[in-house]
Every structure is written in C-alpha cells, then in structure tokens.
Symmetry: C2
Subunit: 461 residues, 2 copies
C-alpha cells in the first residue's frame, strides 16, 4: 500500500508531498474578487443612481446563471464572471433605497469585522481556539448589561431573533421545572405561555419546536389601534392569568412565561414592560422581552430579565449555546461600537427616529397617502390611495380595490429597480406599505423620493 519513490510518497496512487493547491493563484483570485466586490458592491452602496435590484423571474434567472456543478472545475476567469453575475442579480441591501426588510445599509467597520471573521474562520467555543473573540463577546455583553442598568446578567450572541426567542422559552421552562431537561414534558402539566397577538411569529415556532405546542401559546389581544394599549393589555394579561391560575387546579395547565415585545415587527409597537413586569413578579412568571436594544443596534443578543443567576445552574451540558460551532457575531458589533462610540450609535438611532417623524409629517401633507397609525418607533405604516380610488365611497369594494394597489406598485418598483419597500395586510387592514428607517445612509431626500416614486409608479391607477 505504501510506496516511497525518492522523495515522493504515494499512498494508493495519491502523491502526498507538498500542497495540492496553487496558493499564489488562489491569492491572486481572492485579490481580483475583492476588487470586484469593492467596485460593484461597496463603492455603489451609496449611489442612488444604481438599481436596488435587477429583477428576473426564477426561470429567466436560471437561464442567465450557470448554476450547474460539473465534474471538472472552472477557471478563475469563469469564476470571477460568476461572481459578477451573482452580484448583478442580487438585491443591493446596502442601497439607500432598500427599505424592504428590517436590515439595510452598510456599516464599514462592521463589514471589515465580518471580512476578518471570514478570513480567520474561527468558532467561538473555547478560549484555546478563539481567545480574542471570546474576550470581545464578554466585553460586549458586559457593556450591554451595564447599558441597560442591570447589576448582573449573562448572554450570548446567536444566529438571530427567532433562535433568541427559543432560548428564552427554554430558560423559562428550565426555571419553572429543571427536571424537564432530563425527564422531558411527557407526563407534566400542560405548560402555557402568554404573548401579544402582535408578537414575532417565531414564538409559535419556538413553542412547536420545544414540544410545548402552538395551542399553548395564549395570545393577548391588543387594542383597536393594533398598538400596545397599556391598560387593555395589562388588564387582559391579569385576567387571563387569573383564569389560568384557576385552570391549573382543574385541568392541570401551568403558566410559566410571558413574552413581551419591545418594537413589534410590522408596527413597531411597544408592550408596557413595567406593568407586565409587575404582574409577572406578582405571579412568579418568567418575563422575556423580545427586541430590547436589539433593533436599536442591529445586534442580536439573547436578552432576558434576570430574576436570579440562572447560569449558576448550568442549564444544559455546561455550555450556553445550542450550537457547537458558533460565529463571533459580537465582533462586528464591537468594531462598530468602537468606530462610532456610544454617542455615534445614539445619533444613528435619533436620526432614524427623526427621519421617521419627517416621513410621517410628509405623508400627512400629501394627497392620497394615509397613515395607518402614529408610529411609536421607526416603523411608518401607510396606504397609498391612487387617483381613481380617492372619490370612492368607503365600503367593501373600496377596501378590496385598495388591497390590490400595494402589490401593483411593488411589482412596478421591482421591475424598475428604483427601490424596494415591503407591504402586508395586517390584523384586518388591507395591504399597506411599511417603511422602517434603519440605514445610516438614508437621508431626507430618500424619504421624499419614496413618496414621489410611489406617486409616479401609481399615477395611472
């Protein structure tokens, strides 16, 4: 099996001497690709004359992209062309007029941190393999805890808000009954949790995934404005809770958690945290707040109100994460914080809120635009009523027609590539646009453009 020929070592016909990769060619390839990334993505990030998207239907895009993986590899030239194609037909989420999602814009220091992460390719599990990133994560978590005003706490960065909510539910369950870890839920009373009907959809997913069951998520009604009405919500929570307390005696259900929301996904509404916290304290319920800090800083930490030091008892196999390998996501946040300072981060939030208020005032001034509600946060939700509907009587026909308007405008803006803005029906309201100011690149001119462009795209409707 093993043969030596002079210096060459062959095992099963494979030459084992020296590397099989041409590292010089590889480095050159990376350099050329970086030039393309620089020119086509980074330098164009603030250029509003560029398209936000170059829209193609799936089948058409498949024809353009050479997706097939073959037996033999492609040349660097071909690969660089593929990179160009990938960039060309991808949505430019850093474009100042990408308003489609709850992420947008470019932050140069965060981007550099992510490039470093990809180049170093670490996994954050032991100090031995990830010394710098573990210390960075510790420093960021410590600073965030200090920032909220807590005296103690702990946390980790994880792959997103949905996973954070799962952690929260798991921790609350552990606190309620530590034995569940070993014994499972079988044979236990039915665990139930409370959240608002405006909560993130991941709450139901989490309840399903954790074996709690979606039917055991009790949704508290919000008020008519669909925003968090303190009195109504707390009243409901209190009533429901008392019902459940009685329920436990007879049907064996067990309330263990309240998930409050600080900044709902669509409307940006805030639950009355202080009042909910009082109720939770009184009834011994764990309180999880989804959002806190998160949206302000575009970071994604699992944040939980501490009622005692829950990490003194290690809740799992001794480590905090459900993942084994984990990226150092704290690092990009850290470098951004270093670059901007707390003041700079604060300015970004203030400017986003001010821009949202500016947009609200403009919407009020313009014919055809109708605000859904006064925003609590940076989410501005509104209908655009096109010329042909403005004289129509209020009634089912009007709402049915209005429901179709946002999708038409959206299709037109996508095909033109001028901007991307999300819409959705929500809680009985027909399709409306949602603009959330997030990107620090966005300015007053972009807010004006947003409204002008909707008018332009819908002028014949």
């Amino acid at each position: 099996m093993l043969q030596k020929k002079k210096n060459a070592v062959l095992v099963d016909g494979v030459i084992l001497n020296g590397p099989i990769m041409d590292s010089k060619a590889g480095e050159k390839f990376v350099e050329e690709a970086c030039k393309i990334i620089m020119e086509e993505v980074i330098r164009k990030a603030d250029d509003v004359t560029e398209k936000v998207c170059e829209w193609r239907a799936p089948e058409a895009l498949k024809q353009i992209l050479d997706l097939e993986m073959r037996d033999t590899g492609e040349s660097h030239q071909k690969l660089l062309q593929l990179c160009r194609d990938v960039i060309q037909y991808s949505v430019k989420t850093s474009h100042p007029r990408f308003f489609n999602q709850l992420y947008a814009g470019i932050d140069y220091s965060s981007l550099v941190a992510r490039f470093i992460t990809e180049a170093l390719n670490p996994s954050v599990y032991t100090y031995e393999v990830s010394p710098v990133f573990l210390l960075v994560e510790e420093a960021v978590i410590k600073k965030m805890i200090e920032f909220i005003g807590w005296e103690e706490g702990d946390g980790i960065f994880n792959p997103g808000g949905s996973v954070s909510n799962m952690y929260a539910m798991n921790l609350a369950r552990y606190k309620f009954c530590p034995e569940i870890k070993e014994k499972g839920l079988s044979g236990l009373p039915r665990l139930v949790l409370f959240t608002s009907e405006e909560c993130h959809y991941s709450m139901k997913k989490a309840a399903s995934f954790l074996g709690i069951g979606t039917e055991n998520v009790y949704f508290i009604k919000t008020d008519e404005r669909m925003a968090a009405n303190m009195v109504v919500k707390c009243g409901r929570l209190r009533n429901e809770n008392q019902c459940i307390k009685r329920d436990v005696k007879y049907s064996g259900s067990a309330p263990f958690l309240v998930c409050a929301t600080a900044g709902t996904t669509v409307l940006g509404a805030f639950d009355p945290l202080d009042k909910i916290a009082d109720i939770c304290e009184k009834h011994g319920l764990w309180l999880h707040v989804d959002g806190l800090l998160k949206k302000c800083y575009s970071a994604k930490a699992a944040y939980l109100f501490q009622q005692d030091k829950f990490y003194d008892v290690s809740y799992d196999t001794g480590d905090k994460s459900i993942q084994c390998s984990r990226r150092p996501d704290a690092f990009k946040f850290w470098l951004m914080w270093k670059a901007l300072g707390t003041t700079g981060l604060e300015e970004r939030v203030n400017r986003a809120l001010a821009l949202a208020r500016y947009l609200v005032e403009e919407i009020k001034k313009r014919e055809g635009f109708q605000l859904i509600l006064e925003p609590e946060y940076a989410n501005v939700c509104f209908w655009y009523i096109p010329p042909s509907l403005r004289q129509m009587e209020d009634g089912p026909e009007f709402w049915q027609k209005l429901h179709q308007i946002a999708p038409i405008i959206k299709e037109r803006m996508m095909k033109k590539g001028s901007m991307m803005l999300g819409y959705q029906p929500h809680q009985g309201k027909v399709n409306f646009f949602r603009q959330v100011v997030i990107s620090p690149q966005v300015s007053r001119e972009d807010m004006d453009f947003l409204l002008d462009e909707i008018e332009l795209l819908a002028k014949d409707l």
Copy 2:
C-alpha cells in the same frame, strides 16, 4: 417640531439632509483593512514558518487588546491597529499545522463567496430579496440528493451540525405524531430515541431542548474497540427495540427515532447504516444519519432519509427553517464545487484519507507512538509514550502518568505556536491525541512534522 431652513430639514435638532456617513473615507478604510487581511491572513495561510497561535493568557490578552467601548468613536488608524491586533492574537485556523478541530485550511473560492455574502448581506427567506442565493441553494441541494442516489428529497443549509440534529429530531417527532406541533408533548407517551454512545453530544442537547428529555435518549453500546461493531450494535439495537416495544405496553413509552452516525467526532467510526435501516424499516422507526456527506465536504446540510415526502405536509408555519433570517451558506459550497468540480472534491477526500493512512504507518514505525485503533476514516487517534514511561509496567500508575502527558505537550506546542492538535480522554482511555486530516494545504511533510514535533516537545518527559 418640524422646521425648514432653506434646504436643511431639522427634526428635533437633527439635520436630515444628506447622508451622515463619509462614504469615501469608509471605502478607503475597507480597502486598507482588506490589504491587512490579505497580508496578515491570506498570504500567510500556507506559510509554515508562521506561528499557528500567539498564545496569551486571558488577563494578559485583555491588557494587550483595547476592548473598551467608549462614548466617542476611534479613528480609522486606531481601528486598523485593532484589526491587526485581533488578527495577531487569533488562532490561524487556516495554517497547515492547525489540527485542533474538525475544520481547517483555506479554500480560496469559498472565502471569496463568503466575502461576497458579507458585502451583499442577504437573508435567504424570499425570492424577492434573495433571488440568486435561493436558486443556488436549490441547485446545491438537488445536486447533493442526486449524488447520494435518492430520487427525491429536500433540505436546507443551516448554522451547523447540532442544529441539523435538532431538525432531524423535530421532523421524526412530527412524522410520529403530527399533533405534537399544536398540542405539545404534555399528556403523550414518553417518546424515546436510540443512538450510539459515540454519537455527537448535540443529541442530548437536542432531546433536552425539544422537551423530549435527556433520559429518553437510549444509548446503544459500541464494541470494545469503541468503533462501530456491526453485529454487536445491530444486535443491541434489535434487543433494545424489542424491549421498548414491550415497554410501550406497560409504561407507555414510544420509540420514534434512531440516530445513526456516519463518522463519529473523536474516532471517525461509522455505524452500520444498511443494517440499522433494515431494523428501522421493520419497526417503522425514523432513521436519521448524522454526518453523511457533511464531513467530506465541510458543508452543513440537514440530511434525512426520506421515507415519504415530509415537506408535502409543511411541518411548521410553512417555511422550512426555525430561523427567520438565514445566511446563504449554500453559496460558499456552490462556488467551491464550481471551482474544484466533483472530481476535485473527490481528490481532496482521497488525499485526506491517504494522508491519514500515511500517518498511521509512520506511527507504527516510530518508537513511543501507539495507535488507539485502525482508523475507518480520516481520524487518527494515538498516544505518545515519552522516554521515561517506555520501560514502565502496564498498570494504574502507567496510565495515570500517560494521562498527564498530552496536556503537557499541548501546553508546550501552544506556547511555542508551532502547531495545534487536540487531545481528550475517551471511553475509559486516558488522554490521547486526535489528528483529523481536513485541510487541502496539508501534505506529507506536515504529517512528518507533527510526529517530529511531538517527539521534540516531549523529549525530556
């Protein structure tokens, strides 16, 4: 609240005109950081004269790094220095002599794909925002399914193996009893699953997280060699299963899943998949295989044996992922596959296996080195018995002393920075080293170095 002064728009004292970021300075910062990444990480990736790590104890490293986040931001020059420091004190996982983990090396095309991903910052949830990456993921999944020889199948890329195992458990549970999604596990028979005692530790985590309970994970014993002994294992599984079938009648437990392992973490052993599959088929148990393709290709897809089209019934809220935002991890795998071709990927696997065999033969030839077992895969596990222990009699004192050797050698190699190699005690065996050949940069010379260096570091022991 709203004031207009000529063209400047002020809301609450915030000027809203124009961007607040200096994009030219930002671009220059990114360019300079890219130069550092190129020089300090990428160009040094194949240079064995560089250190694998520049080890500092936590407190010493905290003194060196300026971790504090202040009120005011830092200059670009300061940030670039921070980037240099982060790189300097981070472990070089792409170094040819980083053998510490189940990832290693650098792949230039995968790295370029990840840089593009970071620059474009997409999230893979709708075609609208992520057209290219959704098509790429579809193409890769399709190709992988074809490659295994299945006629149908589905899957997603997710943040790692632990999360993949959770998905598998959740799907098996859904198949066993779809109502669990809504009703939860409360009131149901105790669900139990079978796996090998050599399985990845995430199985227990998953059982805990999903509310199944760690006690309901039934570990099948492996044979004396700690590798998968087909007859013993299958026999055990069959016996345990029959026990459980009887158990169901009396105590209400319900077996729903077998998790087999294709390439265990420490020893690289393979469970007898065909035989286990037969047992599962006979008893109507869901079979999940942890590993399959995963380790060969450094990709992380959730792979499940299909017994019917489980995605016809959407198992959750209609989407496949427990996450909302999700990175296009398929893209880096796709670009690597494009660059290498199937043949190139195959060559990498063959070379890794040949290098592992070469290392085994060298271990057998050298005095003081002792193989734990003949490897089934690319994992080579061995003890190094230093000069002072070679004449000792076999007995508790010998093993106790040998147990302390690997940590001493490890400490010395870390402080010298010459290589990084993992060790662990395992199934009653005292600390031994585990070398897994993964990186395509690794050559025969590195295997020789590994053994020479251990001898050198331990010559006085």
